[in-house]
């Protein structure tokens, strides 16, 4: 079975800043800035979709081969998890 992306933490609030998104996590009191690409990854972090599906969805949206963005998507998911704004699905 393919790896599933984490889900958005319930302690996070989001605010649009132009093309960017600021996430505020009340659990840490910190804010995390997402550029437009990271914002797209964040939007798909539902705790149900597989990582491969996220990569395919974004590749279709950007009109590029999945392998071109796979590393970036995985890295972004790791960074979001490290920041605590997405959490593992139970």
């Amino acid at each position: 079975m393919s790896e599933v992306v984490g889900r958005q933490s319930e302690t996070v609030r989001e605010m649009a800043l132009g093309d960017e998104l600021s996430l505020f996590d009340s659990a840490t009191g910190r804010a995390v800035a997402l550029n437009s690409t990271a914002r797209d990854v964040w939007a798909l972090a539902d705790g149900q979709t597989s990582v491969v599906e996220v990569i395919d969805t974004l590749a279709r949206a950007y009109g590029v081969p999945p392998e071109d963005i796979a590393d970036d998507v995985r890295r972004t998911l790791d960074l979001l998890a490290e920041a605590g704004v997405i959490v593992p699905t139970a």
Binding site: L17, S22, G29
Partner: protein, 281 residues
């Protein structure tokens, strides 16, 4: 007994209990602290706004003094540093502003906020900017008004280490308050913004020191990163503070929308000051 009155960060503090034995200390505090010192009271009419906080110096029977419950050092230099530290805490503690640890300088085109934690060179950059002709708003805190996108100046004395003084070409002072850093009168470096004049910020600067021979660059910064940097450097949020972190995030998001965000990389404070000057007209 006499008192000194201070204003900064949108707050007022009275320092009381200055007896004759502290005359030397008072002179030193006047010398370096006049950016935040209010003129002598002229009659103290009913229109005069009451201070937000009173800092008391008490003399004990054996002649020693206490400030904020702590022993005031015996040497005038060290005592003046303690007094200025107590005034600093009182002003920021009484302020209703959202205070962000930052250097703030102003030019004809507005003001720049450069957030950063202690030890990142904020004060030295602010001092170099003053030497370059910009005006000091604060080397310590961007005091954001709770409602409007303006800052309340807080031009306190600048704490400069020997290394910073050398970089700025300042002579070693013969006297003055000493601490780990020596408090330096802003007037030695240039001009300050009066504490009753609100300042409108225009630029948020994400400053980064680089090793020589790199000189400097200014590139467009991320608004989201700017907001994260402001929030990470808030001084009065959380337990006991007047702002919750979430309120601060929302307030700072409003502010950052009105600013352009730049990433400033520089090697020497002089390089950084010149770039700030170009940003602020």
């Amino acid at each position: 007994m006499s008192s000194l009155r201070f204003r900064g960060a949108g707050a007022r503090v009275n320092l009381v209990g200055l007896d004759r034995s502290l005359a030397d200390v008072v002179d030193l505090v006047r010398d370096v602290g006049h950016g935040i010192l209010l003129p002598e009271q002229s009659g103290g009419g009913a229109h005069e706004r009451a201070p937000d906080t009173v800092v008391r110096i008490r003399q004990l029977p054996d002649g020693v003094h206490l400030i904020d419950g702590e022993l005031l050092p015996a040497t005038p230099d060290e005592a003046a540093a303690s007094v200025l530290g107590a005034v600093d805490r009182a002003l920021l503690g009484a302020s209703r502003c959202l205070s962000v640890h930052a250097a703030v300088v102003a030019g004809a085109g507005g003001a720049a906020i450069a957030p950063g934690v202690s030890g990142t060179g904020k004060t030295t950059l602010a001092a170099a900017a003053m030497q370059h002709g910009l005006r000091l708003v604060s080397d310590e805190a961007a005091c954001v008004d709770p409602h409007d996108d303006v800052l309340h100046p807080y031009p306190r004395p600048l704490g400069l280490s020997r290394r910073s003084r050398d970089l700025l070409g300042l002579p070693t002072p013969l006297s003055g308050p000493v601490d780990e850093e020596r408090a330096t009168a802003p007037s030695l470096l240039g001009r300050t913004v009066p504490t009753d004049q609100l300042v409108r910020p225009t630029v948020l600067v994400l400053a980064q020191r680089e090793p020589a021979p790199f000189t400097g660059s200014v590139t467009e910064g991320s608004t989201g990163e700017g907001l994260s940097a402001l929030l990470a450097n808030c001084l009065n949020t959380g337990l006991g503070g007047p702002w919750t972190p979430e309120e601060a995030w929302a307030r700072l998001a409003e502010l950052v929308r009105s600013l352009s965000v730049v990433r400033l990389r520089y090697s020497t404070p002089k390089d950084g000051a010149e770039l700030l000057g170009s940003l602020l007209g």
